[in-house]
């Protein structure tokens, strides 16, 4: 485990890359490496985080341009090999735009950029990303987004529910997301996308540690 390295992808416009790296290195003692989006060599990282921010200025649609970077092209093999990929906020938007996760993220219902702490129900622990014990678990994580309303058609939603792919649901839906969805995984469980920011909840002094479990689970095989 000593050499386990998490690649943190940096796009032009990423702004949570350093936060993610700080949380992993400083709070969890997990080694990280920044991966510039033009690199397609993923051979020396064991898991990948697509951090939050505004890749390519959110031009056209959030995540739409990032999808065509060499790194995202190389991600297909990485995901197929079973390695873990975590997309946070803009990272989640990139994962839906590039087809790694179903659905899309669109403008918040009330058009506000929402920056707040939200209560979330852990619905599924598929992939081991969340600690879901016998009792219903609730965690609190910060959100900060203008386009975080999860949208999918009813067939996709049924598939998400039937296959337990919904990881997190908002207790008090802040943005109008379908079915209160805040985070989902792929069928295999090795890809998680979520709008809340676990890396901003890794130290008591900045308001909580509910994000630690998810970041720590990057090192699961």
């Amino acid at each position: 485990m000593d050499n386990f390295t998490v690649g943190v992808v940096v796009f032009p416009g990423s702004n949570c890359d350093r936060d993610v790296s700080w949380a992993l290195e400083g709070c969890l003692d997990i080694r990280t490496k920044y991966l510039w989006h033009e690199s397609s060599d993923l051979s020396d990282v064991d898991a990948i985080v697509l951090p939050g921010g505004f890749s390519y200025g959110d031009y056209l649609r959030c995540g739409a341009i990032a999808r065509f970077s060499p790194l995202i092209n190389a991600l297909d093999e990485f995901v197929k090999s079973g390695k873990r990929v975590l997309g946070i906020c803009n990272g989640f938007q990139i994962l839906t735009e590039s087809g790694f996760l179903p659905g899309a993220l669109v403008a918040n219902k009330n058009l506000n950029f929402i920056c707040d702490d939200v209560e979330l129900d852990i619905v599924s622990s598929k992939g081991g990303w969340f600690n879901n014990g016998d009792e219903k678990q609730t965690i609190k994580l910060p959100i900060a987004h203008g386009e975080g309303r999860y949208h999918c058609d009813s067939d996709t939603l049924k598939k998400l529910v039937d296959n337990e792919l919904i990881s997190l649901r908002y207790k008090n839906n802040p943005n109008g997301s379908s079915f209160d969805i805040a985070g989902i995984t792929n069928e295999k469980g090795n890809v998680l996308g979520l709008m809340p920011h676990p890396e901003r909840a890794c130290d008591e002094t900045i308001g909580g540690t509910d994000g630690l479990f998810t970041l720590k689970s990057l090192i699961l095989k």
Binding site: A64, P102, G103, L111, H151, D153, G176
Partner: protein
Amino acid sequence: MDQFAVKVFVRLRPSVLDPAGEATKSASIKLGAEGIKSLRIGKMIEVKIEGNGENEVREKIDLLCYRLFANTVIEDYEYSLEKL
């Protein structure tokens, strides 16, 4: 090589809520415009492109629309094409 001017219209699918359209509708009514039943906001993309004939250009534009200009999970697209 022929040159074409293409206008691509990208619209949110009818099933997707358009909060910006709703806000603009509300402002339009405040401005005094009567009779507005629906107002939705989309994008128009202008492309000048060359190719060997209309069919080849249509193939290129179809690819661009499907893979880049629109996200078909939430958006529909259509385009018009004019030979220059």
